[in-house]
C-alpha cells in the first residue's frame, strides 16, 4: 500500500476510517491521479460539499496541482461547492420522463417548497433542508417520472407520492 504523502499546509480533519478508505482507493490504480473522482466522491459524501480545503487536500494527496482537481469539480455535475439540503431530490428532466409528467412534478415540488418552478439547477429551501434539481436521464425511462432522492431511485413519482417523500423526510406535514 502506498504511503500517504504529507499534505503540506492543508488542514482537513478526517476520520481515520475515511483516510484508510481513501488510501485503499488510491492503491487500486496504476496511477494515483485516476483516483481523483473517487476521492472527491468520498470527501463530498463526508463533508456535504467540496470546500477549497478539500480540493487542495485531494490535490496534495494525489501529488497534483490544485487546478487539476478544481477543473474536475467545475466540470462534473455531481460535484458541488456549496451545501445542499439533507433531502436532495433529483428530478429527471429528459424526454421519456417529461412525457410521463416530470416537468409538472418538478414545478409542483418547487411551488410547494417556495422555489422557482422555472429554475433548473439545484435550488435549496431557505431553511436549508431540501434541494430540488432537474437532472438529465437517469436510465430508468420506462417507469417515469423518476426521482433520485439521496441516491435512492423512486419511480412513477406523482405529486402525491412526492409529498409523501417530503413527509417521510420530516420536511412537511
Amino acid at each position: 500500500m502506498d504511503q500517504p504523502p504529507p499534505v503540506p499546509g492543508v488542514e482537513l480533519e478526517l476520520p481515520a476510517a475515511l483516510t484508510a478508505e481513501i488510501d485503499e482507493i488510491v492503491g487500486r490504480y496504476p496511477q494515483k491521479r485516476s483516483a481523483a473522482v473517487m476521492v472527491l466522491h468520498a470527501l463530498q459524501d463526508h463533508l456535504g460539499y467540496l470546500t477549497p480545503d478539500a480540493m487542495e487536500w485531494t490535490a496534495a494527496r494525489l501529488e497534483l496541482q490544485p487546478i487539476h482537481i478544481y477543473e474536475l469539480v467545475t466540470f462534473y455535475p455531481m460535484f458541488r461547492q456549496r451545501p445542499v439540503g439533507n433531502l436532495h431530490l433529483k428530478v429527471c428532466r429528459t424526454l421519456s420522463c417529461a412525457l410521463a409528467g416530470s416537468h409538472q412534478l418538478h414545478a409542483h415540488l418547487c411551488r410547494k417548497l417556495g422555489l422557482d418552478p422555472h429554475g433548473h439547477g439545484p435550488q435549496t429551501t431557505e431553511d436549508g433542508r431540501v434541494t430540488v434539481e432537474f437532472v438529465e436521464c437517469l436510465a430508468t425511462c420506462g417507469t417515469g417520472p423518476v426521482v433520485l432522492a439521496n441516491d435512492v431511485f423512486h419511480e412513477h413519482v406523482t405529486p402525491g407520492t412526492a409529498d409523501e417523500l417530503l413527509k417521510q423526510a420530516g420536511v412537511s406535514k
Partner: protein
C-alpha cells in the same frame, strides 16, 4: 405471435432470484469460467469472433473484430473497461443487469479478460448509480473470496482483479475515449482518433478494450453455448439476443430481450408480449428507435430497403416503418440506427417541437465543449427550439435549425457526439417541418 427470447435476462427475471453469489452458483454460475480456463485465450477469442456478436453500447461494432485489433505486441499491459455509464436517454437495461444479476456481468468480464490477457479491469459506472456501485462491490468481494478473482483464479495461474470506478454525472463519459480520460482522473474530453484508438493507445496509453455491460454478459452466453450456436440466433451479421427498452406512450413500458431481427416495431409497440399498444384513443406519431441520438421515424413513413450493396437485404422494396425488423443492419439501411436499444414511442398527443426541444436541451447541457461546432451548435439549436416553443419563433427558424445541424457532424468534431446532437434535429425538423414552421413568427 412475437415473443421474447431470454438468455441474459432468463434467470434474473424468475421469481425468487437474488443477486448474491449463492443464488448465482445454484443457477450454474461460473461454470462457463471453469470450463473456459481449460482452453487457450485464442480459442475463446475465436469463439467470440465466430459468434458474430456486435457491441450493445451504441455503435454495434463487432466484438470479435474489436478484440482482434488489440495491440498484443507492445509489451504494455492490456486493460479492459466495462462501460456502465448508461446515459443515452431512453436506455435502461444495464442498471437492471447490475442490480439483479451482478455476477453475470462479473463472469462475463472475467471471461473477456482471460481471453485478452488482461490482469486489471475496471467497471466505469455512472455516478448516479451509487446503489449499483455498492451492489457490484459486494459481488466482487464475494467473487474474490471464492477464488473467481485475484491471484491464481480457481487454483490456476491466471490473475485478475476488477475495480468499480464511479463517474460524476456527465453523459460524455459514455464515449469510450472520454471515459478513459475520466478514468485517468481528468476531464472527460474525448480523444482524437487516430491516433488514440483504445485498442492501441487506451488507458495510460496502453491497449484497452471498452465493452458495454450487455456485450460482456453476451460474451458469457457465447462461451457457454459456443460461437456457432450463438450465431444461429438472430440473423446474419445481427446475431444473438439483445435488450430493447421501451418507453414513452405505450401501455407496458419496460425492457425486453429479443432475438435480434425476430420482431418488428409493430410487435414491439402493439403486441401484448411487449408494449401492449398505445393509450386508449391514441394513434402513433413517431418512433425514436435507438436512444435519443437516433434519427426519428414518422409512424406513416415508408422506408426503401434493399437493392445493390445492402448485405442480405434482398431486392429493392418499400416497407412500412412498423414492419421493419429490429436489428442493426435494417435500421441503418432505413436511415437511422438501433443504437443503444432505447425505443421512445410518441403518440399523436406529442408536441413534436417540444419533444425535440427537450432532447436538444439535453445535448446542449452535455456537450463537453472541446469542438466549436458541437459546443456552439448544440447551444444555438437548443436556444432556437426554446424560442419556438415559447411563442417567440422567428421566420426561417426551421431552416436555420437544419443549417446548424448540417454543419456540426461529418468529421468536424472530435467525437460522435457531433452526430448524436445533430441527428435528432435533422430528422425531427426534416420529417415534421410543418409543425416547426407553424411556430415561426407571422404564420
Amino acid at each position: 405471435m412475437a415473443e421474447e427470447h431470454r438468455l441474459i435476462t432468463k434467470q434474473f427475471r424468475e421469481a425468487g432470484y437474488t443477486p448474491d453469489l449463492d443464488c448465482y452458483l445454484r443457477h450454474g454460475g461460473y461454470d462457463t469460467l471453469r470450463r473456459a480456463l481449460r482452453v487457450t485465450p485464442e480459442q475463446l477469442r475465436n469463439e467470440v469472433g465466430v459468434s458474430g456478436l456486435r457491441g450493445r453500447g451504441g455503435a454495434g461494432f463487432s466484438c470479435g473484430l474489436k478484440w482482434s485489433l488489440v495491440d498484443r505486441r507492445s509489451g504494455k499491459p492490456i486493460y479492459l473497461v466495462c462501460n456502465a455509464d448508461e446515459s443515452e436517454p431512453g436506455t435502461f437495461k444495464d442498471r437492471q443487469i447490475i442490480h439483479l444479476d451482478p455476477h453475470q456481468l462479473i463472469e462475463g468480464m472475467i471471461l473477456a479478460c482471460y481471453a485478452n490477457d488482461v490482469h486489471l479491469a475496471f467497471i466505469y459506472i455512472r455516478g448516479e448509480f451509487a446503489e449499483g456501485a455498492r451492489i457490484l462491490n459486494l459481488a466482487l468481494t464475494e467473487a474474490r473470496a471464492k477464488g473467481f478473482l485475484g491471484k491464481g483464479i480457481l487454483g490456476g495461474t491466471y490473475d485478475l482483479d476488477i475495480h468499480v470506478h464511479r463517474g460524476a454525472g456527465a453523459y460524455i463519459c459514455g464515449e469510450e475515449t472520454g471515459l478513459l480520460e475520466s478514468l485517468e482522473g481528468k476531464r472527460p474530453y474525448p480523444r482524437v482518433k487516430p491516433p488514440y484508438y483504445p485498442a492501441v493507445l487506451g488507458l495510460y496509453q496502453c491497449p484497452t478494450i471498452v465493452n458495454n455491460v450487455e456485450t460482456l454478459c453476451a460474451v458469457k452466453h457465447v462461451l457457454a453455448m459456443g460461437g456457432t450456436e450463438y450465431a444461429k440466433l438472430g440473423r446474419p451479421n445481427n446475431t444473438g439476443t439483445r435488450l430493447v427498452c421501451l418507453s414513452g406512450h405505450v401501455q407496458q413500458p419496460g425492457y425486453f430481450e429479443i432475438e435480434v431481427g425476430a420482431v418488428t416495431f409493430r410487435d414491439l409497440i402493439f403486441d401484448p408480449a411487449f408494449g401492449g399498444g398505445l393509450r386508449e384513443d391514441r394513434t402513433l406519431k413517431a418512433i425514436i428507435p435507438g436512444g435519443a441520438s437516433a434519427k426519428v421515424f414518422r409512424a406513416d413513413e415508408k422506408v426503401t430497403l434493399g437493392g445493390p450493396g445492402l448485405e442480405g437485404a434482398g431486392p429493392k422494396r418499400k416497407v412500412d416503418v412498423l414492419d421493419l425488423p429490429y436489428d442493426f443492419t435494417t435500421l441503418t439501411a432505413a436511415g437511422s440506427m438501433s443504437g443503444s436499444g432505447g425505443i421512445i414511442v410518441l403518440d399523436d398527443s406529442t408536441d413534436i417541437v417540444a419533444a425535440l426541444a427537450n432532447l436538444s436541451e439535453f445535448f446542449a447541457h452535455e456537450s463537453c465543449g472541446q469542438c466549436t461546432p458541437c459546443r456552439e451548435g448544440s447551444l444555438w439549436m437548443a436556444k432556437i427550439l426554446r424560442r419556438l416553443g415559447s411563442g417567440q419563433g422567428r421566420a426561417g427558424d426551421a431552416d436555420q435549425l437544419l443549417h446548424i445541424a448540417d454543419n456540426i457532424p461529418g468529421g468536424r468534431t472530435i467525437c460522435a457526439f457531433g452526430e448524436a446532437c445533430s441527428w435528432p434535429v435533422q430528422s425531427f425538423v426534416g420529417k415534421f417541418k410543418a409543425e416547426f414552421e407553424t411556430k415561426e413568427a407571422g404564420v
